[in-house]
Symmetry: C2
Subunit: 223 residues, 2 copies
């Protein structure tokens, strides 16, 4: 024990897990799967790749145990094997943001100007939900809302927001949220709402960060 060959093999083993995340498309898959399980076709659509290529990447994630599958009818649903994988993803994102010099530029290019989008902290939102003087809007796709959402939130996927606006009461502040700090759906929602004269802010982070902070969540009846 303790020799070079087995040491290298062990660290190659750790590196395999890093390799599983070491591809932009697989990173996007993990970022979606943190929201909850999805089937292959949905995932392919989310990352704008062919089903074959998406399946290839999902197999790569499964090979190191980061994701597991379950079958429901003719569909196969992939999910993260545990919350730890989501935490690893968050740690990776944080290190990238803190240390990778190009990340500012890349994030700015994707997210655009956020200076006019006020954020509300999680603790403050939790208080305001209890007080009842705020509407919480989940603007992620339906399946993600179904898999789990902030307790009391209402689902209006971003594409439907413009047409569903009438159904949202006026004269009460709206807080929109989505997948996390690098997700634009809540940004787009806040911009749209403000253009229509509503008071709207963006939640700091997204659903996974809320859940990780042990704040109240709910989900649609599990099978």
């Amino acid at each position: 024990m303790g020799d070079r060959v087995t040491k290298d093999a062990l660290f190659d083993g750790f590196a395999e897990v890093a390799k599983a995340m070491a591809n932009g498309r697989r990173a996007e898959l993990v970022d979606v799967l943190v929201q909850g399980e999805r089937h292959v076709e949905e995932l392919a659509d989310e990352i704008s790749q062919s089903v074959a290529n998406t399946s290839f990447h999902l197999r790569a994630l499964a090979a190191t145990g980061l994701v597991t599958t379950r079958r429901d009818g003719t569909r196969i649903y992939y999910r993260l094997t545990s919350d730890r994988v989501g935490e690893l993803w968050a740690a990776l994102r944080d290190v990238a943001a803190a240390h990778h010099s190009e990340l500012d530029t890349l994030a700015a290019a994707y997210l655009g100007d956020r200076s006019r989008l006020e954020e509300i902290g999680r603790a403050e939102l939790a208080d305001r939900i209890v007080a009842g003087d705020v509407i919480v809007l989940d603007v992620r796709p339906r399946p993600e809302f179904a898999a789990g959402h902030i307790a009391g939130a209402r689902s209006i996927p971003i594409e439907q927001l413009a047409e569903s606006l009438k159904a949202v009461p006026r004269d009460i502040e709206i807080v929109a949220y989505c997948r996390g700090p690098y997700c634009v759906m809540a940004d787009d929602a806040v911009r749209l709402l403000r253009r229509r004269g509503r008071a709207a802010r963006r939640l700091e982070g997204g659903y996974p960060e809320w859940r990780r902070a042990q704040l109240p969540v709910e989900s649609e009846a599990a099978p």
Copy 2:
């Protein structure tokens, strides 16, 4: 903002950080650098690679900002850019241990049989150090001890332990520690000590875990 091309570029950016860790030799480098800064030749020696190849991998880590350098005389010292990088490494190891099916086998092959090596928890050791009825032995290489160690620990690198044994008092329990859960130096120390009739245990984890738990540390005067 929010289009496919820039989204892919952003996630490619996150993936670059994962790529930096996605190689066994670079993983070993990070594992050593978590202990403190070291120069290129030392690092090459630690991972049993040529200086050129070690330099190549260090450049790869530096390219995503995971490590930084400082010059001292003719030497260039590499160090992790922040503790966050060490935390990412720990998270990666934990996910690998929890989910990567081959890791058990790899770890067992490298570490050997640990069933007879009793571990002592960090909290318990902290108490016993205060009580003064234990000797704490840092068996890592000298430069790592110099960069930081458990407060009150004594440095006897593992290669020198056999010959330095006389200098260690009898009739008091010895706790050995090293780099972390996948480091064999403390294991070897405990085995040696027990063969010589000493009461010895291994600290759970290693120095980085101790430090991360905010327990007392000290280091040799910084420049």
